[in-house]
């Protein structure tokens, strides 16, 4: 087990180097220009454009640009943003707690709700309860998060004459304000994530409940609760764990629309604005960070498999 973990950790580095090369190359291959983004819609000449390129260091050879970037990452000096010349490191660090907190809260709402209703839906198959739960799930899947987010904001402002505070507060600064700022976006995101997880749980439970070992467990006289939770659910959770892990990864990187609607300065928002502004250093660094996070999450999920299903052994 330990050897397996060490081997997987060692594989991190070549993977990350490969990812860094792909990111660096792709960003420069896609049409667009950071200098153009910097000059915006103003009336500029070719000379202005050249000056902007020199200022951003885009006139130096590509391999030097890459080496400088990697050197910066290794020495923990991530450099300056093209967009506003602010240091990238502190900006990312500032946003990580918000993004993590939002992802954790969302997963909490999603799993706390999705797993029980998925199980209930499977156990009450084709009853009105099942139909209601499935309809609720379909609603979550079909309604885009930006729409649900907008509706939530409208309901809060129209009916309660209230919206969350505009200046974001971290949990350790002001837990109450922090909670009010994150609860609604987390519910909105959780509504979608819950739909996927609930449907997956239901499908798995339906399949597993028909297996022989469930019948055997019942035949042994085990309490139904034990059969469902101890035997069926534990096995049904394997693919659900995979889905939840991927969802968590996606939440870390892809909550930009919800962040925008609720005015939250998270990593997703920084990432998307960097795409539009062609802020190469920020874009490269965040993508690499996301790649690292996904690798770590994958490893964690693989290790969870072993815990959930003792038949799985790592060599």
């Amino acid at each position: 087990m330990r050897q397996y973990v060490i081997r997987r950790l060692l594989l991190f580095f070549p993977t990350l180097i490969l990812v860094s090369l792909i990111i660096f190359g792709l960003i420069r291959v896609v049409p667009g220009d950071a200098a153009l983004a910097m000059l915006g819609e103003s009336d500029f000449s070719d000379e202005d454009l050249q000056l902007a390129r020199e200022y951003l260091g885009l006139d130096s050879p590509l391999h030097l640009q890459y080496i400088n970037w990697i050197k910066g990452i290794v020495t923990a000096d991530l450099g300056l943003s093209f967009q506003d010349q602010t240091p990238i490191g502190p900006e990312i660090v500032r946003r990580i707690p918000l993004t993590l907190e939002l992802a954790v809260l969302t997963m909490f709402f999603s799993l706390v709700l999705a797993v029980p209703i998925g199980v209930i839906s499977a156990l009450k198959q084709d009853s009105w309860v099942d139909y209601a739960i499935r309809s609720f799930s379909v609603l979550g899947l079909t309604m885009p998060t930006f729409w649900v987010g907008t509706i939530v904001i409208m309901i809060l402002s129209i009916f309660f004459d209230w919206i969350p505070a505009l200046i974001f507060r971290n949990f350790w600064e002001d837990p109450r304000v922090n909670f009010t700022q994150l609860i609604f976006p987390a519910l909105v995101l959780g509504f979608f994530a819950n739909a996927v997880t609930a449907r997956m749980t239901r499908a798995q439970m339906l399949e597993i409940m028909r297996f022989d070992y469930i019948r055997t467990a019942r035949a042994k006289g085990l309490h139904e609760q034990r059969v469902i939770i101890g035997h069926a659910l534990r096995n049904a959770l394997l693919p659900v764990t995979t889905i939840a892990g991927l969802q968590f990864g996606a939440l870390l990187s892809g909550t930009v629309i919800t962040e925008t609607i609720f005015g939250l300065p998270g990593l997703g928002r920084l990432f998307v604005s960097s795409v539009f502004e062609r802020d190469y250093p920020v874009l490269q660094t965040i993508t690499l960070l996301f790649a690292g996070l996904f690798l770590a999450l994958n490893l964690l999920i693989d290790l969870l498999y072993g815990w959930l299903d003792p038949r799985i052994r790592y060599q």
Binding site: P31, G32, G40, E41, S45, I153, M154, I261
Partner: protein, 600 residues
Amino acid sequence: MSTRPWINIRILLSIATVSLMLFAVACGGAGATPVVIEKEVIKEVVKEVPVIKEVVKEVSKEVIVEKEVIKEVVREVVVVATPAAAPTQPPTIKGQYGGIFIKGEGRLLSGFEPTRNTCVCHLTVMNGIFSQVMYTDSQTFEVKGEIATNWSVSEDSLTWTFNLRDDVKFHDGTPLTADDVAYSMFRWMERPNKISATRNAGVRFTVESWRAVDPTTFEVTLKSPDVGFMPAFGNAFAGIVPKHIFKPADDEGRALNIKDWVGSGPFMAKEFRKDEFFETERNPNYFVEGRPFLDGVRVFRMDSVSTQQAAIRTNRITMSSFFPGWTKTEADEIKRQLGDEVVVQSSMPAIFYFMQFNINKPPWDDVNMRRAVHLAIDRQKMIDLVVQGAGEISPWYHWAWDWIVPLEELKTWEGFRADGKEEDIAEGKRLVAEYTGGNRLKVNMMCRTIDVYCDLGELMVEDLRKIGLDVTLESFEPNAGIQKWRRGDYELIGGQRNAMAYDDPESYNASFYLPGAGNNVPNWENAEFYALWLKEKQTVDQTERGKILRQMVEILRTELPDVPLIEPAQFIVWRSDFKGWKIFQTANSYSHFSDVWFQK
């Protein structure tokens, strides 16, 4: 196995009820009450200003106007003018002190350094930090003095002398002197530290040299007499920066940040959180006595109009976004909900949409084909469908400058007119048929996926089909699209948007129609136009200048290097306890929040 139906009537009814409830909430649920929007119609007010004018004519020289020698055209008229110079006194306002003005904005700037900044999004904030020697009044387009108490120009119209206030201090307490003005000018002209200073191109066009004569006297010498100098010098990006902070940073090649944004304006930079908010606080030592009234200004990034609406409704913000402004529908909705709690005003901010031809590629190298397109475009339809009726047909220069071409007259011209559109289309069809020999022609049009560019493109595709052009509309991500356009890799670009860099026709010429102008991507040149421009830029008298500009419009109308489409109105909403605010006339107007206050 269960044989029950998958779904039954109860389930269907439940889903339908929930959907209806959500739909009702989404639609606002209010009745269709007629709404009255307070609309401010902007009109150019021509004021008679005493002007001492001497006209020296050199008519004996022959003017040879040929395309090859356009830059050799001999100056025919030299105008010597001394504009009325009077110190600008703050208006007497009985405002109330206190309160933080909070604004939602669709885009949060990455910085407020006047030379590096290229966006008009937060001029009110940047102008609040950095005072200027001169500024252009956002209501009347008059160039007025801010730090300058008075100014004069030499008899040959080449040397301008500005006398500065001696009581102006930067936010760090250092006195502002002519040396700081000279260093600011140096940054626009010489662009140290690889500064682009794109918004100060107008100054670079006209200025030959500059110097600080003494701590309160600043002098500028022009390359030639130029009526565009003062509007360019008074443009909203001409903030004066402290030499003692900016020069060391420029010398080191160091990027400037919030600690360096030290100006002399009514507000001081306080806190900046990227993508989140920017905050300024009252400058207690502001040189205008009794100002500002507000304790501070805070601008939040709010991309979503729905969020802005919710924030105005709950009094979290005072004012909606300038950039982009709201549409008529969005403004109508909040007015209907909040009534007298909010004020809604609209303006035509001189941000206009146009279409440009690549005149270096067939068929657009043929002026008849360009004319055919101009004739076919239904601008009124664009106004009705794309901007919900809130807009105007765009001329080649700002529509409010009726001293060039009155808007009402423009609306009778071919291509622009609503009455007679059928005739225009028939003529357009004939021109295309003449070019193609009666066949239909396939052409490509690009648009960038931003704002309403592609919506306008779609309408143009429909219009051009009527005259025998089958247009393929290709959409591009904004940055990729602008790169493609600037490379000249396009045939037609539809629904492009632009604004003046400063409030003067010279800005349009410098941006679009002169050789080497930034937006003159296909490098359109016309010797007659250039000769007229040389004459126009030296003509102070507005009526005379208007006549020359009209001749230039006639050339543009005939040559059609581009086709102006429409100017949308933008709507701005604010809480009604916020007083003293006047909506600016153009997006690039100089304005700040020193004269506004909250009524308690």
